[in-house]
C-alpha cells in the first residue's frame, strides 16, 4: 500500500524512495532480509554513495524523515508516480512526467473512469493512470511480453494497486483487447510499434458514449499511419503534439564588472594612462547576480503524442466536419476564433 494517500509511516514490505539529492534517488522495498546470490537469507543492507543503510531500521519511520547512513544522511520519501518514474527499474523505454501529465489530462480521466493501456512496459504511465481513476476506477493494461506482464503485476500488487490495475499478457495488435473490455472504456492509450493496427480494436473497446484516445510514438511515420486510421474510424479532434520539459537552473554568481572608467572618480576624464585603461578588478567592482540557465544538453525528442475524440456512436459521421480533425492547412498560424460568455 506504499502509494496510499493515508499512509504516514513505513511498514515492512513498503516501497520507499531514498533521496540523497535531486539527481541521486533510489527506490527499494523495505524487507529486513534479502536473498544473496547463493540463495541464503542475509540482512538487507542498501549501499549508497553516502554509505550503507540497514533497511530494517526504516520500519516505523515517518515518511519525510532524515535517516542516517554510515557516511552521511538522506531523506526517506513516500513514492508517488512522479518519483517512481524517476527511480523505477527499466525493463523498457519509459514515458516521463511531461508526457505522462499531458496524456492523463487529455484522456479526460476522472475518478471511476475505465482506461485501457497497451503496452504496460515498465509501468511508468500505469501508476499515473491508476492515481487519476482512483479506487473506484479501472486500468486494464496489456503487454505482449509475458515476463514483463508478470513483473508489472507483482509491482502493482506491492504498490497496493491490484484493485485498480489489471495486467494481461496479450498481443492487442492481433487479438484486440478482448470481450471483457469491449464497450467499457472511457479512454484508450497506445504505446505500441504499430498503433494504427489497433485503432479499430480501440473503437470496439470504447463505451457507446465514445471517449478520448491517445497514442505515443517516437517516429513520425507511425504518427502518419495512426492519424490516417483515426480519421478512417470516425475520430475527431485529431491533434499531434510534442512536449519537452526544460529545467531552469538557478545559480548565484558573482561577475567582475568590465569598465573603462577609472576607479578614482576624481581623476580628470580623458586622462587615460595605461593603468586606468585596464578592466577594474578590485572587489568593489563586482556584481552579485542570481543567474538562470539550462542544462547543456536535454532530450530533444521523446515521442509524438496524438490525441483524438471518439463521439458517441449515434453522433459518429454526423459531427465530423462540424468539429474538424484536419488542420487548416498551410496557414497554421490561424488561431481558432474563440469567445467566452455566460460567466
Amino acid at each position: 500500500m506504499s502509494f496510499s494517500r493515508d499512509k504516514t509511516e513505513i511498514d515492512e514490505g513498503d516501497t520507499v524512495i531514498l533521496y540523497l539529492s535531486a539527481s541521486n534517488m533510489h527506490a527499494f522495498r523495505v524487507q529486513p532480509t534479502i536473498k544473496n546470490k547463493h540463495g541464503e537469507l542475509v540482512e538487507n543492507v542498501f549501499q549508497t554513495t553516502y554509505g550503507a543503510l540497514k533497511v530494517a531500521s526504516l520500519v516505523g519511520v515517518k515518511f519525510g524523515s532524515k535517516v542516517q547512513m554510515s557516511r552521511g544522511w538522506a531523506f526517506v520519501l513516500q513514492p508517488n508516480p512522479e518519483l517512481w518514474t524517476l527511480t523505477l527499474p527499466h525493463r523498457t523505454q519509459i514515458i516521463y512526467t511531461a508526457d505522462i501529465s499531458l496524456i492523463v489530462f487529455h484522456l479526460e480521466l476522472r475518478p471511476g473512469s475505465f482506461v485501457v493501456e497497451s503496452g504496460t512496459g515498465s509501468g511508468s504511465l500505469t501508476h499515473a493512470l491508476a492515481r487519476r481513476v482512483g479506487a473506484h476506477g479501472t486500468v486494464r493494461t496489456f503487454d505482449f511480453h509475458d515476463q514483463r506482464a508478470q513483473i508489472a503485476t507483482e509491482e502493482f500488487a506491492q504498490h497496493g494497486l491490484s484493485n485498480v490495475v489489471q495486467v494481461a499478457c496479450r498481443d492487442v495488435s492481433c487479438d484486440g483487447f478482448g470481450e471483457d473490455v469491449q464497450g467499457r472504456a472511457d479512454a484508450v492509450f497506445l504505446d505500441l510499434p504499430h498503433p494504427w493496427l489497433v485503432v479499430h480494436h480501440a473503437v470496439a473497446a470504447f463505451k457507446l458514449d465514445g471517449g478520448r484516445f491517445a497514442s505515443f510514438s517516437p517516429c513520425i511515420e507511425q504518427v502518419q499511419k495512426t492519424v490516417a486510421a483515426l480519421r478512417e474510424n470516425g475520430f475527431l479532434e485529431v491533434t499531434t503534439m510534442e512536449c519537452l520539459q526544460r529545467e531552469i537552473l538557478v545559480n548565484n554568481r558573482t561577475l567582475a564588472v568590465a569598465s573603462v572608467e577609472t576607479s578614482d572618480s576624481k581623476e580628470p576624464a580623458g586622462r587615460l594612462d595605461e593603468r586606468s585603461q585596464t578592466v577594474a578588478s578590485d572587489s568593489s567592482d563586482k556584481l552579485e547576480l542570481v543567474c538562470t540557465n539550462y542544462q547543456n544538453t536535454m532530450p530533444g525528442h521523446t515521442g509524438y503524442l496524438t490525441f483524438a475524440t471518439l463521439p458517441p456512436v449515434w453522433a459518429r459521421n454526423i459531427s465530423s466536419s462540424a468539429c474538424p480533425s484536419d488542420p487548416d492547412g498551410d496557414d497554421g498560424g490561424s488561431a481558432p476564433v474563440i469567445e467566452t460568455a455566460g460567466l
Binding site: 476522472r110 457507446l208 504518427v223 491533434t239 465530423s320 474538424p324 498551410d330
Partner: protein, 369 residues
Amino acid sequence: MEIRESIKIGDYVVIQKQKYLKLHQLKARCDVMLGKDLVNLKAIVGQPFWTTFKMIQKKKKEFDLDVASEIESLPEAVMKDVQSGSDNRNITDDGKSQLLSTEEIEGFKESGLSAQSIVGKLIESSTTFHNKTEYSQEKYLKKKEKKYFEYIVIRKPTVRLLAEMFYSKDPHSVLGLRHDSIAQILSYANVQNSGTYVLFESGTQALLGSAILDCLDDQGRVISITTGRYPPETGCRRDELSRREESEIVPKPLKKPRWQENLEIAKDALLKDGADSLIFASKEFPLPLILKMLDYLKPSHSLVVYSVYREPLVLIYNELKKKRKDVIGLHIFENFLRTHQILSDRTRPDVMMSASGGHILVGTKVLSS
C-alpha cells in the same frame, strides 16, 4: 449502455462551430451571439450533447437551429468534378480572378443560398481555380467552408475544452496557464480523488481549481484561499460542482481587514489532517503565503507554484533554499510544446506555436528534526 444526457435550461454548454468554441450558460431566453450572427438555441433543449444542428436563416444575421442528420463536407462535395493544375506557374495575382463582385456575393448570402451553392458559384466565376493544384483547391475550399459553415455541435464543457478555449482566446486571461502546465501541476501535486488540497489561485478564471475538482470525488477537498471576497468561479461542470463548492471548498470571504483572521480559520481546518499538497497560481507574489502554509503541508508531500514569469519562481526558489531546511527537491520547469500538421505527404510542425506555457516550481516537504 449509453446514457444520453440531455441539455437543460441552466446548463453550461460549449457551442462548437468548426474551430470556434464558445462557453455559454443556457438561459430561458435562448439567444446567443455567434460572431456576428444571432442564434436562437431553443432547439437544443432536450437534445443530447454532441447533437449537430443546422443554422436556418430567419432574417439577415438571425438564425434558428434544426437537428441535422447529415453534413456533406464542402470540399468533398465541390471537389468531386473539378480539374486541378500541377503547379502555380500560370497563376498571377492581379485581383481579377474572381468575376463576381462583393455585392453579388453578399446578395447570395442574404437570399439564403446554401454554402455549397455559393461556393459553387464562386468557383464557376473564378478564372484561376481550375489551374490551382489539388492541395491549393482543397485549402481554398476549407477556408470558404469555414466562412459559410452552417452547422454547430453542442458539447459538454470539460476542463480540457475550457483550458484550450481560454488560452487560445487570450493567454493573459488565464495567466498564460497552458494545458500542459495544468497537466503537470496536477501531476506534481499528486492530486488524487480523496485528498485535501490547498489552492491559492487568482487571475486564471479558476481554471486550476476546476481542474483539481475534476480529479476529486466526494471525499476530496479543495481549500481555496483568496484575498478577494469570494473564491474564483468558472462555468466548468458548474451544475455538478456547485454542490461540492458548498460542501467541500471552504470559501473564505476574506475582506482585507479580516484577511488574517480568516486565514486562521482555514488553517484550523488544516491542523487536523494537514494538506496533501499546496498549489499556488496567482497574479500576486505568493512567498509570504507559501512560507505560512508550508507548516500545514504533510511531510513527503509537494509544494507546486505556477507563475507566468520566471523571476518570481527564481526568487521563491532562492528564499526556500536559504530559509527552509524542510523543503527539498526544488526544481523550476518550463515546457516546449509544439503541434504538428499530419497530412499525407505534407507532415511538418505547425507554422505558429505557443512560445510559453508558464513556469512551474516544485518542492517536497520533509521533517526538519
